[in-house]
Symmetry: C2
Subunit: 231 residues, 2 copies
DNA sequence: TAATATAGTGTATAAAGTACACTAAGATAT
DNA sequence: ATATCTTAGTGTACTTTATACACTATATTA
């Protein structure tokens, strides 16, 4: 793999683990690399941080350049600094993750020559990824899974309007287990962060489900009071 | 402040937020700097990562060199990468935290010329710190506070043998609120991770309390089953 | 032996989580 | 029109966990 590549002393990079949900499958955003090392491999969107930009800014810029996605709220989750993780030199990478909704219309379009294409891939049956990106993905996935148990981040993955069954499917996919329908609904509705809409599913060949949407204001209120230890 | 300092392009560093508890006060480990920039200022123990060491290794080494402490389990919690956070150039720092017990006997002793001295300082009334270390400390403190609500990390801060009242004091200091004695004891004992010892306090001028110790095996068992969403 | 200071204990109530199975409604085929 | 299919939608009893609250026990010292 190591051809006649430039060597560098030490650089920072960013890698992004972007989760998306299409209603039934949980996906992750990958790119196909157009540059050595790991040319033609699949990888997480990620690249070097510039001298004059903060980590958060770099994450936003790189995600845009590689995939065309903008205005995605990403959160840093871990920094990977093994000595040999990059064949060209010492690269320490700060990993970010985000959860976003997949509307069919959002086309991915790279404006970077480093990227052959960007695409969504189901998180099950991930192919081998470049560098240590498989490990980065796994760490990010576990972090996201843990977070969903104490913050209802699942809403960010769903379309604007969604049914309770879709919401439950998403939880089941992420947690990888079946949940009880009645208990799930009770719990979610009790949070008080769902608005029932005056609208039902159309074009389904069975009883149409009611659509809900997410009340972002109440969500913020509810989850900003930090967990307390009780009295 | 900026004298005729070396400039560097980009480097990684480590900073450590080490919490200690002496039975009544929660403290943090600080150093007094013996080197520009911020010579004579107080700061978190932290320095540059070498080319050939991983982040975790660097954290361990730097903590030892600066304070004499060894074999401390530290956990990475955030990476700070603002462009101007270091006056000499672009320094991205990976912050670690740990919670340890303060036995009087553990003397702090720096073997580094960069450090004038290392010492424990109460987390209340922290002095102004070098660089953005106040912010790093605050982020670490909030992380630790959150963690204590779902993992009994407090045991790592206490001496080998401790009384339930000491344990409760610690929780009250960290959470900054009073807890109910009976409920606290019930909850802690219910975890099943405490062993009651056949030994009581000595030299106190009131009824002596029973000592407990922490059953690390049961602890690990209990808190390795990840939080679940229920059924 | 009285005073003081902290250790140690129980019970009733409220809230949250869990287990579990049937009816309702729309679409489609006959 | 009616029977069939498929998913939506609902309630209740039980268990577990959290909360509120005040007195007795024991060691030390005056």
């Amino acid at each position: 793999m190591e051809t006649n590549l430039v060597k560098f002393d030490s650089v920072f990079s960013i890698d992004c683990v972007i989760f998306g949900f299409d209603g039934s499958e949980l996906k992750i955003l990958l790119i196909e690399r157009n540059e050595e090392p790991f040319k033609d491999w699949y990888a997480l969107p990620g690249y070097f941080v510039e001298q004059d930009e903060s980590l958060d800014d770099a994450a936003e810029r790189i995600l845009y350049e590689f995939t065309g996605l903008r205005d995605i709220y990403m959160e840093q989750f871990h920094t990977f600094g093994e000595v040999d993780r990059h064949p060209q030199g010492r690269v320490i990478t700060v990993a970010y993750y985000a959860t976003i909704r997949l509307n069919g219309q959002k086309d991915l379009e790279s404006v970077s020559p480093i990227v052959k294409k960007a695409f969504w891939h189901p998180v099950n049956k991930l192919p081998k990824l470049a560098f240590d990106h498989t490990r980065i993905f796994t760490t990010g996935f576990l972090r996201m899974r843990r977070k969903i148990t104490y913050q209802p981040i699942a809403f960010e993955l769903l379309p604007e309007k969604f049914t309770l069954t879709q919401l439950q499917n998403l939880y089941e996919v992420i947690l990888d287990k079946k949940l009880d329908k009645r208990n799930f609904r009770k719990k979610m509705l009790n949070y008080g962060i769902l608005k029932e809409l005056n609208e039902k599913q159309k074009g389904v060949s069975y009883r149409a489900a009611t659509y809900y949407k997410f009340d972002r204001r109440k969500y913020v209120k509810l989850f900003q009071k930090e967990l307390s230890f009780g009295k």
